[in-house]
């Protein structure tokens, strides 16, 4: 299947979904797909550093949490303007990514995985300890982000299309980045570190910049997610959540443009399907995922497309 055909079909399906499910009286699916698209943004951002940068960050949920808590906490103090909330959410995520990245990117391999995990666990426990913002129980979002009446997030269809648009923008952004000079330097450093140094690149600043971009993009996903659930819990920063995002990327196909989107849809639809069928759905999902990693080493996108050069 050609790339353009694949994208066109997928996009068309996503565009006609809202009128279709409303007509069928199944608005639940609107909610589900919106959630998938928001988490796909997180997966797209992780793919930039994991797939193209080779940075196995096992703490990417941190930025989902920071983005969500930024919206929640600003709302708590009566600042409900999305024009303010969302840029602050993105900026705060970028700053935290800069701090975490500055330390962790100096390490590699298992140490990098552990350090990113440790930082995110710290944030997770910070979230639990913030009694004022609900602590362990989490906090309710007082009001959805306001965009001066331009778009009403309380309208499920409008919110759906916003999430779709932002997901597409994220795909396009990452696509441009990884094919730019910056992206080539980043991928080169992943492919062969010694060679990259020998031709004159210091990988560190490129990796750090990619880490910050990915954090910022995931922060946006967090801001969306807060508005989606109306409820923010520390669980959003749990290591299970980080693992979920990572799995979307691996399942969909690392270092491919469509991979994280495919992975997010496959993982979450499967989860939804199986959990509707049996309570012990994880017993089925786990082995399925293991099999898919063994047999489809380039993920779902590897089945659909020839490899990206």
């Amino acid at each position: 299947m050609g790339r353009i055909v694949g994208w066109s079909i997928g996009l068309l399906l996503l565009i006609i979904l809202p009128p279709l499910v409303l007509k069928l009286g199944q608005p639940f699916y609107l909610d589900l797909v919106r959630r998938i698209m928001i988490l796909a943004i997180a997966a797209i951002s992780l793919n930039l550093i994991l797939g193209y940068g080779g940075l196995v960050s096992f703490g990417h949920a941190a930025y989902l949490g920071i983005g969500a808590y930024t919206v929640g906490i600003m709302g708590f103090y009566g600042i409900t303007s999305g024009w303010l909330q969302w840029p602050v959410a993105i900026g705060a995520s970028a700053l935290v990514a800069l701090a975490i990245g500055a330390v962790s990117i100096r390490t590699s391999g298992i140490y990098f995985i552990m350090i990113t995990l440790a930082f995110t666990q710290m944030l997770y426990y910070l979230g639990i300890s913030l009694e004022e913002y609900g602590g362990d129980d989490g906090m309710r979002l007082k009001a959805k982000s306001q965009f001066s009446g331009l778009i009403d997030l309380a309208d499920p269809v409008a919110f759906y299309y916003l999430a779709l648009a932002l997901m597409l923008v994220s795909v396009f952004l990452v696509y441009r980045i990884v094919n730019s000079r910056f992206g080539m330097a980043l991928r080169a450093a992943k492919s062969n570190d010694a060679r990259t140094r020998a031709i004159g690149f210091s990988p560190y600043p490129y990796r750090l910049a990619a880490f910050v971009i990915a954090g910022a993009m995931c922060g946006l996903a967090g801001a969306l997610y807060a508005n989606h659930t109306n409820y923010i819990t520390p669980g959003l920063m749990s290591w299970q959540q980080s693992g979920d995002i990572m799995f979307m990327v691996i399942l969909g196909g690392m270092a491919s443009t469509a991979g994280p989107v495919l992975g997010a849809f496959a993982l979450l639809l499967l989860e939804d399907l199986l959990s509707g069928w049996t309570q012990h759905w994880q017993v089925i999902l786990g082995p399925l995922l293991i099999l898919s990693v063994i047999f489809f080493r380039r993920g779902l996108s590897g089945i659909l497309y020839k490899p990206d050069a």
Binding site: I177, M184, T196
Partner: protein, 245 residues
């Protein structure tokens, strides 16, 4: 161009480099030979900045570079090739060389424009591929190139950084006779225009290419001279050349 004084590097009790003095003049091709375990790769790694010496200094083009990291040295014009082929296997030959061109064209914090379509990168990269005779294979993934072609690509990537000094670590390693001949031809063309340090086991290549030869034995330079004199040198013959000459 390059001046090494008292370079020493130990791994535990092993002195891989033991006070090496070494000098490369502008324009010459200077071969470094020595038996296995003489410390050649350790020496090269310290010149390229992959290893930090325990003692001694390295000066390049008038600057002390002893403590500079590898990427900085590369940007100053000190390019290396690796003994064990080190390319980007999942990128095309052209991409490999274009990356080396990109590395020398200022910073790469450019996030939008496609690098592959950029004539400022592709143009010079194609020229270098032409120069080493790989142009007809430019769109082949580096992983799918023959061993000899990968060795050519190694040299191409070093060349593409527009080096003032080329550090070639056994460019003929693992090559068949025919491939070696082609590499020797390539290097004899390059030596007209470049300053080269050549570490090589292939004596035929060394004596055809080198203007001067330094012989490394047990981490020490036991002789530096023109090829004819090295061939005659008693100490060298005893230590190394033996039957090969």
């Amino acid at each position: 161009m390059l001046e090494v004084k008292g370079l020493t590097k130990s791994f535990g009790a092993l002195r891989a480099c033991d006070g090496i003095d070494f000098e490369v003049k502008e324009g010459e091709t200077h071969a470094v030979i020595g038996p296995n375990g003489a410390g050649k790769t350790t020496f090269i790694s310290q010149l390229a900045g992959n290893l930090r010496p325990d003692a001694g200094s390295v000066r390049f083009a008038g600057t002390d570079i002893t403590t500079l990291p590898a990427p900085k040295r590369a940007r100053m014009g000190l390019a290396r090739s690796f003994q064990i082929t080190s390319v980007y296997p999942e990128f095309s030959a052209l991409d490999n060389v274009a990356l080396a061109v990109q590395a020398r064209s200022g910073h790469s914090f450019r996030f939008w424009r496609k690098a592959r379509g950029d004539p400022a990168l592709v143009g010079p990269a194609e020229q270098v591929l032409e120069q080493v005779g790989l142009h007809h294979r430019k769109s082949i993934l580096a992983a799918n190139l023959a061993h000899g072609e990968q060795r050519q690509l190694e040299v191409a990537m070093a060349l593409a950084t527009e080096p003032r000094l080329l550090l070639l670590d056994e460019p003929m390693a693992g090559m068949g006779i025919e491939e070696s001949q082609r590499m020797i031809e390539l290097l004899s063309r390059l030596k007209q225009a470049k300053t080269i340090i050549l570490v090589e086991h292939d004596m035929d290549a060394v004596f055809r290419l080198a203007d001067r030869i330094s012989v490394l034995v047990y981490g020490r330079v036991i002789a530096t001279d023109v090829p004819e004199k090295i061939k005659m040198n008693e100490e060298v013959r005893r230590a190394y050349l033996g039957e090969q000459v």
